[in-house]
Symmetry: C2
Subunit: 211 residues, 2 copies
Amino acid sequence: MAQSAPVEPRVRRTQAERRDESARNLLRAATEVIAGQGVTAATFEAIGARAGYSRGLATQKFGSKQGLIEALIAWLHARQDEVLGAHGVDAMPGLEAVLTYVDLYLRDLGRQDEGRAYFMLLAGAVADRSLLRAAFAASHERVERRLEAMVLRGQAEGAIRREMDADAAALMIGSLLLGLSIQSLIDPDMDLEPIRATTLATVRLSFATTP
Amino acid sequence: MAQSAPVEPRVRRTQAERRDESARNLLRAATEVIAGQGVTAATFEAIGARAGYSRGLATQKFGSKQGLIEALIAWLHARQDEVLGAHGVDAMPGLEAVLTYVDLYLRDLGRQDEGRAYFMLLAGAVADRSLLRAAFAASHERVERRLEAMVLRGQAEGAIRREMDADAAALMIGSLLLGLSIQSLIDPDMDLEPIRATTLATVRLSFATTP
DNA sequence: ACTTAATTGTTGGATGACAAGCAAGTGTAG
DNA sequence: CTACACTTGCTTGTCATCCAACAATTAAGT
């Protein structure tokens, strides 16, 4: 008998499948256009064409440009969490967790369209003083709470200096990673390898207790 | 007899005076509009109105929007050099120079319109993949060469670890400051004081040789 | 010194490009 | 055949840019 599990692409899809697929296609297309040509170039026309649809569909699906961008940010943010969340970082000892997080972050900096589009949208929000700034602030806040928890854990374990202000340290690490992300968008040719090594060494030397 | 020294505002100004003054007024107005309302809001109309002129003047003086922005960046950059250059940092011992530079930078982060406008323009260039990115890259390059020189000096003096990659360290410091600048534009309410202290402590602990 | 012509600084209406939003339409899946 | 995904023509608004007129300044001529 033929294959009973319809895993292969069926010719006939339900309405819900079509709808969800086109929404995903639009978000993916928007990501690619932004990463490749910039935020301003991401018009409904460009996004629709890239996704293989007309210019009107995105308006219909997301209500407005603002709606599309908000959905896109949420989508990109979820993706980013996937990448940086699935490595069991939060189960490691504190110091090791911080170092691993920084290491992972720097290893795929600017490697994928998703990360680049995210920071380009962030840059656009900063440039235009858009209200979306609050969304990015909240997102950074979450990352920094996570880093702060790692630092506090490391201090409880005796591996990280107790004099260190965990809150400020988390914000410092977060801002360093943000700065490197932006810098890599300004100068795509920069060599991240020595930066990664030096950053890790710096964090270790300044965070670790000296017995 | 009447006053012979015409120091007071004359009613009659020379053409050169009018021209230079209006150019300066336009650049200052552009800075204020960008810092206050964002890059997109900085139309010829808004800038002209703020400076007390018509919308046509900026085009006439700078040729095009692009020309205005380029002139503005050059102007802002010169201003920034003034602020961070006049403290004799380059004459200090290396480690102290790095620490002083970071300290000075963080003390007036986001305090003035000029700095904010500069980073908002940078953000706009990143968001739009504008060719101006190269100008910002060059500017950062200069700052990083300066920081690298400080690190090398500190190593020659025996105050900074010799294992440290001076080039990477300079890029790391520069990116940290960039990241903090962007972060302060995303979240203007952030408290910079603990960050400053923690950053200085971090740099000192990781850079300084342990005797 | 005064007048007048040439130059330069400044204005604001007209134009065209471009993109978002809308609404009426077409086609296709269930 | 009907509900829903999707398209297309149109309207509206915004902005940079062009340009011809206007105003202030300088230079020349008498």
